[in-house]
Amino acid sequence: VNFKTDSKLEQILAAGHLAVTSECGPPRGSDPEVITRKGQLLKDHVDAVNVTDNQTSVTRLSSLAACIHLKLMGVEPVLQMVTRDRNRIALQSDILGAASFDINNILCLSGDHQVFGDCPDGQNVFDLDSMQLLQTVRHMRDNGKFISGDDIKRPPRMFVGAAANPFAEPFKIRVPRLAKKIAAGAEFIQTQCIYNLERFEAWMSGVRDRGLHEKVYILAGVTPMKSLGMARYMKKNVPGMDVPDELISRLAGVPKEKQAEEGITICLETIARLKEIKGVSGFHIMAIEWEEKVPEIVERAGLFPRPKISSE
């Protein structure tokens, strides 16, 4: 097989393995140890680690710098890049900067609105949207050109991903929106956290009806609930999140000190059910500020050890 990139994630997916990715949020400070500690926790149990880009619009250490820290310690990073804060000059520049460190995966996002973060009075950029960023990275990689049409010396070789939220409204465009992201250049998808399995299955059925699962690798997103409070918060306050009442009452039915354990159990049951869905190519495990639980989830879900690829 000829790969357009040196991405380990791409090679694992292409070999037909269920891929496992996780996530690492950079610190609100310049201590690299916060990143390397999370990297060390995840290193042997996942194929790649996403690094969020000023998530929820709260200013943090840059995604690119954190990706470099991970890369240097032998962890495969997925550079998350939002279009909220940078125009097309800065986006292309950071893509090249990442490529210079052989960061081989990028996740193209629009980004949360700045009103949710620590600079609600700031300007937003949105020169491009997430679809246009996908097109831009693919153009840079496949055609070796900048947006301007000028040649790039040593183009970036990145495996290009996008997010999908099967639960957001309007529902009638959820499958078309995935098709549009694929048309824009997405090669892998990481979904929003899945709690409503019936709705996710309905979405996947629509995805398969159009054969989209054969055009893109879909990594199903899961986030273990740490507590009843977290579940309630996500249901009520996180836009686009679908947390069914049954899950809330299940957590409410166990004593407080057992809720975290129950959250892990629910997460494992979810993964087991997702494994049965045709078109699911892997899992994106987002344990928010609970990274230490990822190895346990991966092992108990039967996803360990991770496959080795030949170039390693």
């Binding site: 097309r88 609105h113 409204e169 309007p170 929106r177 549009k180 048309a183 836009p239």
Partner: protein, 222 residues
């Protein structure tokens, strides 16, 4: 039309309190429609400022008048003497009118009584909504007549973000999600398939990014 909102009285007072003779000048086009900048509002504002001056023990003479538009030379004729006789003008026009006056009357201070807020419509009496950002490169043909540049908080050109719930924007649950409206409208027009057409990178050089814009009709007047 252009919508504006009067600034807080205290802020206006701070601008003019050192002046002895101020012309409070209404603008009777756009900003009069939204009940903020017409002659009537100029009179009310002047009364409030007079009370403020009395309380502060400061003598400020406030004259009031209004003209049709403060953004066109021909409407200024009736106001020329009043402007000439004033230490300063407190303009209730939009930012266009204030600047037009500042250029026209080079040695007279002109202060803004309004914050110019947006280009909008009169949704119903007393309720105004933003519809256009004058981006200079209209996209409405592709989006069913609903503008994502002006009405999406992220000005996304290819569809809604994940934050929409119940058809409302994540930043304010009283705000319609522009893309929700666009999708509904495309469906009503029998064009839902058009949603999948990728909108190319936008040419923002026609927008503010390209610097101040001008428009000249060739051969219109000598």
């Amino acid at each position: 039309m252009i919508v504006g909102q009067q600034k807080p009285l205290e802020e206006i007072w701070m601008m003019i309190r050192d002046m002895r003779k101020v012309l409070v000048l209404g603008c009777n086009s756009c900003v009069a429609v939204c009940h903020q900048g017409g002659t009537k509002q100029a009179e009310i504002l002047a009364s409030l400022l007079r009370m403020h001056a009395t309380q502060a023990g400061v003598a400020v003479e406030l004259d009031v008048m209004g003209i049709e538009r403060q953004c066109e030379h021909e409407f200024f004729k009736p106001a020329m003497d009043a402007v000439a006789g004033a230490d300063a003008v407190l303009s209730l026009a939009c930012g266009v009118g204030v600047q037009f006056m500042a250029e026209k009357f080079h040695t007279t201070p002109v202060y803004p009584a309004l914050n110019t807020t947006f280009l909008g419509a009169v949704e119903r009496p007393g309720y105004f909504t933003e519809k256009c950002q004058a981006c200079g490169n209209c996209v409405l043909a592709a989006t069913g007549g609903i503008c994502p540049v002006a009405r999406c908080a992220k000005r996304l050109l290819n569809g809604p973000c994940g934050g929409v719930s119940n058809g409302k924007c994540e930043i304010n649950n009283e705000l319609d999600c522009a893309w929700h409206l666009i999708v509904e409208r495309l469906e009503a027009l029998g064009r839902l398939d058009d949603y999948e057409k990728l909108f190319p990178l936008k040419d923002w050089s026609k927008d503010r990014a390209g610097g101040p814009r001008t428009f000249k009709i060739e051969g219109f007047l000598p």
